[in-house]
């Protein structure tokens, strides 16, 4: 171990500066010189960027460094960082890209374990790397997960931005909107401008998720429309409630009502008798 001045350390290459978060450096420990030495390899500062920054702020003029071997230096940095499973998407992508530069000098399997705690790091980053920038950013910001981003990567950036910027949508609503939009685009062969216009229309609706669901599912919407019309015709303002099975899947409609007088009961019974007349129409929906 030796000491290097801050300007000398700052002059080293920063290509290993891939960690954006991580525990803050405690100023008391810094002043007492109680911290891990920085890792240096040739012209690269491999690990310790946080200490370098904090030391500058504390007015410390030099820091301890240890020269390490080129082979496995990224793994050393990851071990010193010690945040397996807790790296952000941005950090993981930087690690993945850096690894591409370093090539053979690193053991990919150990890197995967040090980053993710399993062997899946590279497969996942390959998928992430294929995404357009706006979806990478959405993942980085926690607005989408990787599998949904892959499903919606055919959507133009403008359409996604409109959805992301609409207030009042939960994570799952955003997810549902985007997936349905992507499916509609593929099904109907819509151009970028057309799908973006559709997003505008849908977001203007009171319930955009429902509005889009109806467009994605025209037959189900038709059934729902016919059922609602039937209800209006036969049960509106009668106090009798008529329910269809969810998604028109199943056997039974449910009729319910309450009453407190004989006259009320008679009126409800008459409503139900009228319902019976229209029953074929209901049967046709299932």
């Amino acid at each position: 171990m030796r000491y290097m001045t801050l300007p000398d350390i700052a002059a080293l290459s920063r290509r290993f500066d891939v960690f954006e978060t991580g525990p803050a450096c405690d100023s008391q420990l810094l002043k007492a010189r109680l911290f891990t030495p920085l890792a240096v390899c040739g012209d690269d500062l491999v690990w310790g960027f946080r200490f370098l920054k904090a030391a500058g702020a504390e007015g410390i003029s030099e820091l301890p460094v240890v020269q390490i071997e080129p082979h496995g230096r990224l793994l050393v940095a990851l071990k010193l960082e010690n945040r397996t499973g807790r790296y952000s998407w941005k950090e993981r992508y930087s690690i993945y890209t850096l690894l591409g530069e370093l090539g053979e000098s690193e053991d990919a399997e150990s890197i995967s374990l040090a980053v993710s705690g399993n062997a899946g790091f590279f497969a996942m980053m390959k998928r992430y790397a294929c995404l357009p920038g706006h979806l990478k950013a959405a993942i980085n910001e926690g607005r989408l997960d990787l599998s949904i981003a892959e499903k919606v990567c055919t959507l133009p950036e403008a359409a996604c931005d409109l959805v992301f910027s609409r207030t009042g949508l939960s994570f799952s609503m955003v997810r549902e909107l985007l997936v349905n939009l992507a499916e509609i685009r593929r099904r109907d062969g819509l151009a970028a401008g057309e799908i973006t216009a559709l997003v505008r229309d849908v977001l203007a609706a009171g319930d955009p998720v429902k509005a889009l669901f109806l467009i994605r599912n025209p037959e189900l919407s038709g059934l729902t429309g016919r059922f609602e019309a039937f209800k209006d015709r036969y049960t509106a303002q009668t106090g009798v409630s008529l329910k269809a099975p969810l998604y028109f899947e199943g056997d039974g409609y449910t009729v319910s009502f309450s009453f407190s007088t004989k006259a009320e009961l008679r009126r409800k019974r008459e409503t139900i008798e009228r319902l019976e007349e229209g029953c074929d129409e209901l049967e046709d929906l299932l």
């Binding site: 099904r187 037959e219 899947e249 929906l285 299932l286």
Partner: protein, 360 residues
């Protein structure tokens, strides 16, 4: 007829053999056929290197535990009273809609090379359930015949169950690999069945499965050899021209005698959400689907009831056989047949316990 030796060279790249399983007949037969492949001995599956955990690897092992079970069925959906035997678990045909895509992604194809315990189990079951029909098949977790010319594992079942009147052993396939089975005697009630989709769909969605006409030709050969055959229209896909695709396919079965067909099943396409994640680019997913009680997504009930009615009517007109529905709800049964399965006279052999009704 497919040249299956060339075919195996394409779909099998490595073979792992469980220590202790070396002596089984099936292993010896496969070794002779796969001379260019080294059979590597392992203690268990965990010793197979990660890069070989895929469908081009075969893992030959003995069975431990329950090799014979009931078809898992589906919550809220009626099961057709079928038993399953795990013989070939996994499949390299590569159908885009295969449910195994959602859970067997990194697994080799497992071949259970010790058929005798399962044959004995079925025999015990059949004797316990004398007077009840036992439909039992090997095509639940893989294709029954894809690897069978290599391992000849169906033969011990056909022979070993042939004296049991109430057992109908079915091999179900999307291949035409039947010729190794033709001369087996006695055949008992063995059934060799074929899954069918119109060529226009099969060519796109059923990977390297045999051509549909080749499957039908194989069905003719098995019938000529004295087996009964079965047809499975599952999954049926809905698209604008589905009638123009499926009706000619059904019509092409006109040459089969009714008595030569053990049963016909029909099931519309369905998927689980994890499967959809794996196959999101397939155009057939852009139809409308709704979640059913078992968590699978199916076409809207009204739509599939209509499809079933038309398909079943056509099948009945062409073959004389009343098809049954695979994994469908009571509501659909009522809409299609007007009754529940055990009340449909023509399906009594499939759904009730009278073995005589299934006889040709």
């Amino acid at each position: 007829m497919t040249n299956w030796k060339t075919f195996y060279n394409r779909i099998i790249r490595q073979v792992y053999l469980e220590r202790g399983a070396e002596g089984f007949d099936a292993v010896g037969i496969a070794r002779r056929e796969l001379q260019n492949i080294d059979f590597r001995i392992v203690s268990d599956e965990s010793e197979i290197p990660e890069e070989h955990l895929k469908g081009t690897t075969l893992y030959l092992r003995r069975h431990r535990g329950h090799q014979v079970g009931r078809c898992p069925g589906s919550h809220g959906h009626l099961c057709c009273n079928y038993h399953t035997i795990d013989l070939y678990a996994g499949c390299a045909l590569g159908c885009s809609y295969c449910i195994m895509r959602s859970y067997l992604n990194f697994s080799p194809v497992t071949v259970y090379v010790d058929p005798e315990p399962a044959v004995q189990l079925v025999r015990e079951l059949a004797l316990q359930k004398k007077g009840e029909t036992l439909r039992i098949g090997t095509g639940e977790v893989g294709d029954s015949l894809l690897y069978d010319p290599l391992f000849q594992l169906s033969e011990p079942f056909i022979r070993g169950l042939s004296d049991l009147d109430n057992v109908h052993f079915e091999m179900k396939s999307k291949t035409d690999f039947v010729d190794h089975l033709l001369d087996i005697e006695p055949k008992g009630n063995a059934v060799i069945g074929f899954s069918l989709n119109p060529p226009e769909i099969a060519d796109l969605e059923e990977g390297i499965a045999s051509a549909v006409q080749a499957r039908i030709a194989a069905a003719k050969r098995v019938v000529e050899a004295g087996y009964r055959t079965s047809f499975h229209f599952d999954p049926v896909f809905r698209q604008a021209n589905w009638r123009e695709l499926y009706f000619p396919l059904i019509d092409s079965l006109a040459g089969f005698r009714k008595e030569a067909i053990a049963w016909i099943s029909v099931g519309t396409f369905r998927y689980t959400p994890p499967l959809k994640d794996k196959i999101a680019d397939r155009p057939y997913l852009y139809e409308e689907f709704v979640p059913s009680a078992d968590g699978k997504h199916r076409y809207i009930q009204r739509v599939r009831a209509q499809m079933y009615r038309e398909l079943i009517e056509r099948l009945r007109a062409v073959t004389g056989v009343t098809a049954y529905l695979c994994m469908e709800s009571a509501a659909i049964w009522k809409r299609v047949y007007g009754r529940m399965p055990d009340e449909v006279e023509e399906l009594k052999g499939v759904f009730d316990d009278d073995p005589a009704r299934l006889k040709g």
